[in-house]
Symmetry: C2
Subunit: 344 residues, 2 copies
Amino acid sequence: MAGDQVSNKQVILRDFVEGFPKESDMYIATGTVRLDVPEGSTAVLVKNLYLSCDPYMRNRMSNLVGSYIESFKPGSPISGYGVCKVIDSGHPKFKKGDLVWGMTGWEEYSLITAPETLFKIEHTDVPLSYYTGLLGMAGMTAYAGFFKVCFPKKGETVFISAASGAVGQLVGQFAKLTGCYVIGSAGSKEKVDLLKNKFKFDDAFNYKEEPDLNAALKRYFPDGIDIYFENVGGKMLDAVLLNMKVHGRIAACGMISQYNLKQHEAVHNLIQIVVKQIRMEGFIVFGYYSQYPEYLEMVLPQIREGKIAYVEDISEGLESGPAALIGLFSGKNIGKQVVAVARE
Amino acid sequence: MAGDQVSNKQVILRDFVEGFPKESDMYIATGTVRLDVPEGSTAVLVKNLYLSCDPYMRNRMSNLVGSYIESFKPGSPISGYGVCKVIDSGHPKFKKGDLVWGMTGWEEYSLITAPETLFKIEHTDVPLSYYTGLLGMAGMTAYAGFFKVCFPKKGETVFISAASGAVGQLVGQFAKLTGCYVIGSAGSKEKVDLLKNKFKFDDAFNYKEEPDLNAALKRYFPDGIDIYFENVGGKMLDAVLLNMKVHGRIAACGMISQYNLKQHEAVHNLIQIVVKQIRMEGFIVFGYYSQYPEYLEMVLPQIREGKIAYVEDISEGLESGPAALIGLFSGKNIGKQVVAVARE
């Protein structure tokens, strides 16, 4: 079948997005693709199996200047992390049949011209889709942000916002395994139940039902917060600052509540950073991928022993991609949002 | 003279202050004091020579709860850093005639009941008043904040707000000695001239004459800021965040623009902390005093060789204390504000 020309469905960005993205900001088109890599190229041609929906993708829908990542190109397929099967390879590191994860296109088949960025999947006794999250970017983000930015100690108190998301649910479980006291916030009863019952957080609350976030945090952390894993920004950060302990640490992983706002929400309580000698550190997972083997070594046994719970929200078919991605920003997904393009 | 009862002028806080403090929030009273320490006590009785006016003292004028430092007590003399001469001592570490610096009262004579917190002054070939700033708390603050929080490298770009203040002027000079490119902001032409001509900053600007702080910073730092030494907070911090480089560091030393505001100014651009992987760290000098000998070893030769310029604004007499302290918050002082209580 290599060398054949086949049809290739794609998710195309219509134009740069301002404000809250809509499903109609993307459309499905069908092109064609040859199932081999060009003669002499070191590219690989992959079949996309699972695509990952991640909050940072919102940024790429805008016309970014001087960002750490490139904008999507209007009229072209969007891209993101995915799990793929190699169909043809011009690169010595990859051969036909290899399973990989990394940056790929939102389409059925992708020609990846910088295959050095792909990770080969060596362990297939766990669900392949996990490599879009738990065993991929989200997992490394949780690992790096919690252990390498926050330096947690047993007995410390940890608060996680957007805690049922792909990263938050893992941070919470890593924190429990470290011996920390862990509270998460999320935006629905269902998610709160998940945090308490499935992910075994010490407690969790629905921030939409708390008229006074400061009071809520005081209730859950009467002695204050040592570590805040920041996924949302804005009002929640402001309330957290009032409740941090001296020498507290804030890992700023994302600020999803702010991505769609033209004028970002105000934060008024930064003086707490001085008064309490707080360290707040933004981090991006790219700088930590060299530690991926170390992460796998820690997490694979825990997955196999059932010590890590992981919830995925899998939507079927590439056509469902735009809705799945948009749903992320209104908190529609329960657990890690994945798009299944093909099962093999 | 020890054992005699003498009169003791004091600066008394009338009541807790809300909003901008006024001279009339303090008053001068005259009590009496015995010039010896009580039998069996380990206290020391000192004569206060120079008192230091520092921004953090504003916080102590309010009724603080759960702060890193205690409130002043209405009806009692305020306290702060000062240079003192030991008149009588019940503590084995100190003897009559010793010169010391540390926390003392705003009065002519103070009985210091925790003399372990005092530093003995060993080097008197430099002006004694320097131990209220350059060789005291402000100097240690600049040293710790710049070197131990920011980890500067030669060639990096450094921005300092409130740069002509006691701490800012030193950070700028330490940065120049490290081989950094240094810009400072201040609130008057006179202060800007001082930064450029006296402290040898690469450049400086008057923030009050810049309608668009973001544009001003872009002009001075076309390639961005590696290190921001934060003394003011609010609008300046918001503009700085837009101009930080990737992996930039912000040492949050104080936020003087915010101390007198009931509702702190909004900061909208914290998303930059994530996007640019910025580390923002609040610090308080108390945790670094163990490194004071190391600091003296670095800075004393530089002072003797004339490599460090230092400007003091000395007001004469304890009675001038309230005005000098209040002036700090409207930026009246040029350089380090000191109150000379007695010359010897």
